[in-house]
């Protein structure tokens, strides 16, 4: 579980220039954020360090250009694409 401070910072860093990313990251944080373990947290931090379009290409499935250790989080993000 993340501390409140970790979650708070993560929420801010998930504010993006692209609405597409805002929507998907927002969904994942809302559903799962508070229950992320350290590994998931680290994966997401790595991914959100990417430029907006690079991140969106990965989420959209157009690119697999991300570090291998982020595999699980990429899957989580991709699953969140389908409108609930």
């Amino acid at each position: 579980m993340l501390t409140d401070a970790q979650l708070s910072k993560l929420r801010w860093r998930c504010r993006r220039g692209l609405l597409e990313n805002d929507i998907i990251l927002g969904r994942v944080l809302e559903r799962r954020g508070a229950h992320f373990n350290d590994d998931e947290h680290a994966q997401l931090l790595t991914l959100i360090d990417l430029a907006d379009h690079d991140l969106w290409n990965i989420i959209a499935g157009r690119s697999d250009d991300y570090p291998a250790h982020c595999d699980a989080m990429v899957r989580t993000l991709r699953e969140a694409r389908v409108t609930p």
């Binding site: 708070s8 597409e20 927002g26 907006d52 959209a60």
Partner: protein, 594 residues
């Protein structure tokens, strides 16, 4: 409490296209420049711009700035200031070539010139036929521009303060702007930036609406700060709806789609824009297309089980064109609508997109306010550029690609103006003794409050209310009701509570501070809209029909004027539209048909 004070020649708030273009001009002139941004610069909303930058390069077909000028005046339904529009259209080729020389990867023609695509409202020969005028880098124009400008700024030693949120303007007893207060998110500390000039480039407030193409960051902070400091907001009733937001998601499908030949169809598969705009068809300006779509839906010709959307058809363009010119449209279709646009049409609705109004400025980016009978008295030390400003080149409705152009032209112009006034040799004006007190009191109030509502709950109510009462079609009754509701929500926003009161990286506190800014933008919008008794551009009111005296409900006799909204007392003033261009003949208002 003694606050840390940092001193700069110029403080730019906002690292989108406008802020970075201006900062670059200043830093290259050797000025000491700080740029503050709530997020990492290249995550500013400019990154989302897809379609292009408008400039009459004439690389594809004959074009010139006079045609661009005419399109912009007409597109803006004559509310734009013609001096500013002339300035922007004449400067356009220059700023585009400058960007090219900085390394911007524009799409090219086989002969090496910049490729230009057609776009809604762009015409040659004064409306006679569409002309390709949009300069683009695939559908990543904003991204390419932002990265190019960021790299140039880093090279020129601009100092960036990332994840710093500007809170309030500091004005001295004479009303001059001498700095800002800002919150460093990482530490939760408030500092003062003491400056010879402050430039706002904080972007738009698109998140005052529920259905928006804008990223969550667009909360209109510059508008809030200006309004709280007594500066009016101009023409805030004018909000552009983009015709092609994905139904139920808001995500934008670039107008480049229609530029490349995509067609809007109703439930009968009819290309209905042929009926409304026989010349420009699907490429008529956005407000016009949005209203036609709304009309089709209202008259029962919408698509889907609820008849509540229109279909955008790209299938005839072919897989190759779609994947080459519009790859992100293909992606968005799959991810947000479950549609492969190569094979089937995609559901779209008009969605809030762009704020035409903002902080009033002149063509140098200087903020101007009414004083002693002069409607445009300069506020010393204060500039605004980009979407947060109203210069006003977009009038009642912006032409696609004119915003990125506005950022470049006026970002550069503000920089040039400051350099010409020999800013570096000027002294700093002293800070008032109570410089940081107002911001500290606002934060202390939030921290000590308990039992109030949470910021996001109030913000969501505001968004729903704005969507219902200030949407694409407006009625006087609905706007009047909306105003009462918005003022009541603003009252609730005075009593917010925070779940989290910690100091370090407290996103809840930042969001509460953003809500205060959203409220100012929403009050300005609703109040200005309810008071404008005509239809013009994006402000279309059902009550005002099409008569010979008032074509399409537009009333030039009484309403060819700019609105100025003041936060204090929620009051309005008006100022004349500048109908006189700099060097050419004025374009007189006529009925807007396409």
């Amino acid at each position: 409490m003694a606050l840390t004070i940092q001193k700069y020649d110029a403080v730019v708030v906002g690292a989108g296209g406008a802020g970075m273009r201006c900062a670059l001009q200043l830093a290259r002139a050797g000025l000491h420049v700080a740029v503050l941004s709530k997020v990492f610069p290249t995550r500013s909303h400019t990154v989302a711009a897809q379609g292009g930058i408008g400039a009459s390069l004439g690389n594809m077909e004959e074009d010139n700035w006079h045609y661009h000028f005419y399109d912009t005046v007409k597109g803006g339904d004559w509310l734009g200031d013609q001096d500013a529009i002339e300035f922007m259209c004449r400067e356009a080729p220059k700023v585009v070539y400058e960007l090219e020389h900085m390394g911007m990867p524009f799409d090219r023609n086989p002969d090496g010139t910049i490729y230009q695509r057609p776009f809604g409202g762009h015409s040659a020969k004064y409306g006679e036929k569409p002309v390709p005028r949009a300069c683009a880098a695939a559908d990543r124009t904003g991204h390419a521009m932002l990265h190019t400008l960021y790299q140039q700024n880093v090279r020129s030693n601009t100092q960036f303060f990332v994840e710093w949120m500007a809170l309030d303007l500091i004005r001295d007893a004479e009303g001059d702007v001498v700095g800002i207060t800002a919150l460093e998110m990482e530490t939760g500390e408030v500092s003062i930036f003491h400056a010879k000039c402050v430039l706002f480039a904080t972007g738009g407030a698109g998140r005052i609406f529920a259905a928006s193409t804008n990223a969550y960051i667009n909360t209109g902070d510059g508008l809030g700060m200006a309004a709280r400091a007594g500066v009016p907001l101009e023409d805030m009733e004018f909000w552009q709806f983009h015709p092609t937001g994905v139904h139920n998601a808001g995500v934008l499908l670039t107008e480049g789609c229609r530029g490349e030949g995509a067609i809007l169809r109703n439930k009968d598969g009819e290309r209905f824009m042929e009926r409304y705009a026989p010349h420009l068809k699907d490429l008529a300006p956005r407000d016009f297309v949005s209203r036609c779509m709304d009309q089709e839906i209202k008259e029962g010709r919408g698509c889907g089980p609820n008849r509540d959307y229109i279909e955008l058809d790209l299938t005839h363009l072919g897989a190759e064109t779609i994947m080459k010119r519009l790859p992100s449209v293909h992606e968005i279709g799959i991810n947000f609508a479950n549609v492969d646009v190569i094979r089937e049409p995609i559901p779209v609705v008009p969605t809030i997109h762009y704020q035409m109004g903002g902080i009033p400025t002149n063509i140098h980016g200087q903020v101007v306010v009414p004083k002693n009978g002069n409607p445009s008295t300069v506020v010393n030390g204060f500039y605004a550029i980009g979407e947060c400003s109203c210069v006003s080149v977009h009038g009642a409705n912006r032409l696609g690609t004119n915003s990125l152009l506005d950022l470049l032209v006026f970002g550069r112009a503000a920089g040039d103006h400051l350099i010409a006034t020999a800013l570096s040799s000027k002294a700093h004006k002293p800070l008032p003794a109570d410089a940081g007190d107002y911001s500290l009191a606002r934060i202390a109030k939030l921290d000590s409050a308990s039992g109030g509502e949470y910021p996001q709950d109030v913000a969501n109510d505001l968004r729903r209310t704005m969507q219902t009462h200030a949407g694409v079609f407006r009625t006087q009754k609905s706007m009047d009701e909306g105003l009462v509701k918005v003022l009541a929500i603003a009252e609730r926003a005075e009593h917010l509570s925070l779940k989290d009161k910690s100091k370090v990286f407290n996103t809840a506190r930042v969001e509460a501070l953003e809500v205060a800014n959203l409220m100012e933008a929403a009050k300005a919008t609703m109040t200005s809209a309810a008071a404008r008794h005509e239809s013009r551009g994006a402000h279309t009111v059902d009550d005002y029909g099409d008569t010979p005296e008032h074509p399409l409900g537009r009333n030039d006799r009484d309403w060819l004027r700019h609105t100025l909204w003041f936060s204090e007392g929620n009051r309005l003033e008006y100022k004349p539209v500048q109908m006189k261009p700099l060097t050419v003949d004025s374009i007189p208002p006529v009925k807007r048909t396409f």
